[in-house]
């Protein structure tokens, strides 16, 4: 029979957990044995419990033999503190009271462990599956792709209420210890109540320095994670999120698509060049249009100057109002097509892109050239492979546009210079953000 000490612990644990339909307390008897199990059935796997605890309980004859079984089973751990027991219970472990012992049996249900297809960072070739929403499965996916003895996994918790389990993965050979220290410090100081996904960190790091660009990369691709591990990056896996966070991040990482290494050399280079041109165009083009049409039309050839002048003849507003109007329309369209259900999405694009664009020129609200410019800007913005970065870039073009409106071509130059200067200033956990050629990790 249990001693009074165990009895009091049992009482106190049961008092701490609010009664609910799925909280189960069960007593089991055989001739010589008595076992109590206490668990929450909605997050514990009763089948596993039955298979590894209850079945042996009735099959093993001697009371001592069963105790030996419990003590030697890898999924069963012994009681440490009361608080820890309560926490484990809330995570889906079962508490076993047997003789004078209290055991914790790990029978968590691993839900949402299905591997999902990539939807955000799609590639034509290469692996097509992303992470699942289960932490162990994700860890497994990475270990599968990165079978190295030096891969170190550290666990911790983030979130005052959610107590989300977070795993820190890195290769001890390559990872920079200084950066690792900063990341750990950052994680320890994050103040979030409900931590659900890695993107939240983007926001919480921004609050410290109001960064315009993300300084960590959130990815859904295990292959990207594996590659980054091998270059000394530190990976953050969050329980319940199909996204991993890659730290530290430089601007080059945001411009890299996994497709680059799945292509032949020249194709990869070409695509990368294309992306950088796209980035440049989407930042500078609206500003350049205003600066050239309103300050320096001598830059155009005569033919183009006359055709722009002709198409702007009917437009009543100055060029920067025209650009703002069209850009605003485009931003609305982009936002709308994200929010809309997939089934109506194309309708929005058709209505917005084709009909509005056509009608706006017909009505003399904007010029023909403007439509071309706005669509070029929109399309070249989508060329940036990482979404978080492409959203940030969307903002930069307004700054350049504003400067161009006030200062003309000089403004465009200043704007672009500011953009570069700002990126040079940024750092991601001690690593410079704008390194086009990545510095080799593990300097020493």
């Amino acid at each position: 029979m249990p001693t009074t000490k165990v009895e009091s612990i049992k009482k106190s644990i049961m008092n701490k957990i609010q009664k609910a339909e799925d909280v189960v307390f069960k007593e089991n008897f055989t001739k010589e044995k008595y076992l109590e199990t206490y668990y929450i059935k909605s997050i514990s796997d009763e089948q596993v419990l039955g298979k590894y605890v209850l079945k042996p309980f009735f099959e093993i004859q001697g009371a001592e033999l069963f105790l030996d079984y419990l003590q030697s089973h890898p999924k069963i751990s012994t009681f440490k503190t009361e608080a820890q027991t309560v926490e484990s219970l809330l995570r889906g472990e079962a508490v076993l009271f047997y003789q004078d012992y209290i055991f914790l049996f790990d029978c968590k249900v691993d839900r949402n462990n299905a591997v999902q297809d990539t939807t955000v960072e799609t590639t034509i070739q290469g692996p097509q599956s992303g992470f699942s929403e289960s932490l162990p499965t994700n860890l497994g996916l990475i270990r599968h792709r990165y079978p190295e003895a030096t891969l170190k996994v550290e666990s911790s918790q983030v979130g005052a209420i959610s107590k989300t389990k977070v795993m820190l993965l890195y290769d001890t050979r390559f990872a920079d210890m200084d950066t690792l220290g900063r990341i750990k410090e950052f994680l320890a100081n994050v103040k979030i109540n409900m931590f659900q996904t890695g993107e939240q960190l983007l926001d919480s790091i921004k609050k410290s320095n109001r960064s315009l660009f993300p300084v960590m990369l959130v990815t859904e691709r295990p292959d990207r994670v594996a590659i980054n591990l091998s270059t000394g990056k530190i990976i953050l896996l969050i329980h319940g999120s199909p996204f991993a966070v890659v730290l530290p991040t430089s601007m080059k990482d945001f411009m890299a698509s996994m497709a680059d290494i799945y292509q032949t050399y020249w194709v990869g280079r070409f695509l990368q060049t294309l992306r950088y041109i796209g980035l440049f165009v989407s930042i500078v083009l609206p500003g350049l249009y205003v600066a050239t049409t309103s300050y320096n039309p001598e830059i155009y050839r005569v033919q183009l100057a006359l055709s722009i002048a002709g198409s702007r003849n009917l437009v009543p507003y100055p060029s920067f109002v025209e650009v703002l109007l069209m850009l605003f329309m485009m931003e609305m369209l982009t936002e709308a097509s994200i929010r809309l259900p997939k089934a109506i999405g194309p309708t929005a694009t058709t209505v917005g892109g084709l009909i509005l664009g056509q009608a706006a020129t017909e009505a003399g609200l904007v010029s023909n050239i403007m439509i071309i410019i706005v669509s070029t800007v929109a399309i070249s913005n989508f060329v940036v492979p990482i979404n978080a970065f492409s959203f940030s870039v969307r903002i930069v073009k307004y700054i350049v546009l504003g400067l161009a409106t006030v200062f003309g071509l000089v403004g465009v130059g200043i704007g672009f210079l500011l953009f570069i200067a700002y990126m040079v200033k940024l750092d991601s956990f001690g690593q410079p953000f704008l390194t086009l050629i990545q510095t080799k990790p593990n300097k020493k």
Binding site: S294, Q303, G310, G408
Partner: protein, 366 residues
């Protein structure tokens, strides 16, 4: 506290900079683009010049070609004329696309028009890559011509002058910056192509040569072509020669010329030209066999030597120097009075022309 100060300083700078606008900002549709500037001598008037600006009127639709208007004003100076013309139009006049400057022939022949020439170079908004030509009979007549193939006003002149369009050895285009340099530089004199207005097209085949202040000599088409050879401007050309009763034409693919000024002691100074021509037989009155091409080459060489030398002598006799012998001499001699020396040498210098012709084939398969 500190950030509040920073923000207010930033706000003041931004608001302050907004006040600075207004002067530069002018939308493209509020500007009238001048495509050509024409200057004539004023007739029946107390004023000196007649200035014409050809303004492009952009059309909204693609079906209509772009129209143009010519606004004229008589004045004693360019500045006056342009200021008055501004009062006649509704939009701001923009010279940034004025790529053609036409000087009326009569005006070019007159002395004392340096004011106009330098006005063009002084204006910031007139691009120095504009072409300068002499217009015949008047600038207005040339401005009025509208060739059928032209979609954008003055574009056919732009194409003729630039290498984008026609390539011909009879046009020696000259940019404004070059014209200005030639007006100032000792030992290099201006030369401008002459554009002649015909009913619906232009004819550009002669060249006018200037001394430092007015037009002095006109070269006929053949002489223009020869000058072209000497200046290495256009490779595609044609030269003709005669051998016996056969008159034949060479279509040139390559023309290279170089010269050197020799001033041997005790002997008269001379300039030696080396011209290398490569081409094929394009037209002939009688059959030329491949095996005897060398003999025909000799004939072409003789013909070219004579012809080029005549042109050089003609230019020398009128005392002008469009090729820049004087400049070359000054660049190779470092004494204080090199320019005075050259002025003594030039009138009596002797030209020696040595042409090497290579006819690669007869153009036919035998």
């Amino acid at each position: 506290m500190k950030s509040a100060v920073n923000w207010s300083v930033a706000a003041i700078i931004v608001i302050g900079s907004l006040l600075l606008t207004g002067c530069g900002f002018k939308d493209i549709d509020k500007r009238l683009f001048v495509v050509s500037i024409g200057v004539d001598l004023a007739k029946n008037s107390s004023k000196k010049y007649d200035v014409h600006l050809k303004l492009a009127v952009p059309s909204g639709s693609k079906q209509q070609p772009n129209e143009f208007t010519i606004v004229s004003e008589q004045a004693d100076s360019m500045s006056d004329a342009v200021r008055i013309i501004k009062t006649k139009v509704d939009k701001e006049i923009d010279f940034s696309h004025a790529k053609m400057i036409l000087i009326g022939e009569e005006l070019a022949k007159q002395k004392g028009n340096a004011g106009i020439y330098y006005w063009l170079a002084r204006r910031r908004d007139i691009q120095l890559i504009a072409w300068v030509v002499v217009a015949k009979p008047t600038a207005l007549d040339v401005l009025k011509v509208k060739p059928k193939s032209e979609q954008i006003p003055s574009n056919s002149l732009f194409l003729a002058m630039g290498k984008d369009g026609s390539e011909t050895p009879y046009i020696l285009p000259d940019f404004l910056f070059d014209f200005k340099m030639r007006l100032i530089e000792r030992g290099l004199d201006p030369m401008l192509p002459i554009v002649e207005a015909k009913k619906e097209l232009f004819e550009i085949k002669t060249t006018s040569l200037f001394n430092k202040n007015h037009m002095k000599l006109t070269l006929n088409p053949e002489e223009t072509k020869a000058l072209n050879f000497l200046l290495n401007k256009e490779q595609k050309s044609a030269i003709w020669a005669r051998k016996g009763k056969t008159r034949f034409f060479i279509d040139t693919q390559k023309i290279r010329s170089k010269y050197k000024i020799y001033t041997p002691k005790g002997k008269p100074p001379y300039i030696k030209f080396d011209i290398k021509i490569k081409g094929i037989v394009e037209e002939t009155s009688r059959k030329i066999p491949n095996t005897r091409l060398a003999k025909y080459e000799k004939e072409v060489e003789k013909e070219t030597n004579k012809f080029v030398k005549n042109v050089l002598v003609k230019i020398q006799k009128s005392g002008i120097d469009p090729i820049g012998f004087g400049l070359r001499y000054r660049s190779r001699h470092f004494n204080e009075n090199d320019w005075e020396e050259w002025q003594k040498i030039y009138p009596k210098i002797v030209f020696k022309v040595d042409t090497k012709v290579k006819i690669t084939d007869t153009g036919l398969i035998e």
